[in-house]
Symmetry: C2
Subunit: 80 residues, 2 copies
Amino acid sequence: MKALVIIRLKDGILDPQGEAVRQAVRALDKAKVSNVRIGKIIEIEFDGVDKGSAEASVKAMCDKLLANPVTEDYQIVDIS
Amino acid sequence: MKALVIIRLKDGILDPQGEAVRQAVRALDKAKVSNVRIGKIIEIEFDGVDKGSAEASVKAMCDKLLANPVTEDYQIVDIS
């Protein structure tokens, strides 16, 4: 069982890493890049766990450990 | 026009950040987590660019700037 979680900064939260990339990219090839946001994608593999308990487990991890609820949103995109 | 790029460590490349998360997660709720891999997800917004040139631009950025071709793979998941 494999779960895929995306963690993004909330809208309105400044993303200095994304801003640095935006500036580097503009210098690179003058592309009309207006905004860059960088998030994390986390792949979690489970051993011998059914889908329901994997999902519950992933939710608990995101709430308690992986995402900062003040600044970040998480999204469980796939469990299979 | 918005592009979504996922950058992951190649298989076989050690992921210390993922390993740290795996250990923390096991301590958290004794979930049977066998492996955790952490990658980046990058959202790039373009102003007034058509899909073709946005795609070429994103490819160039990934090759030259965003991904390290020795240790990382990138995947352009969506341009719309």
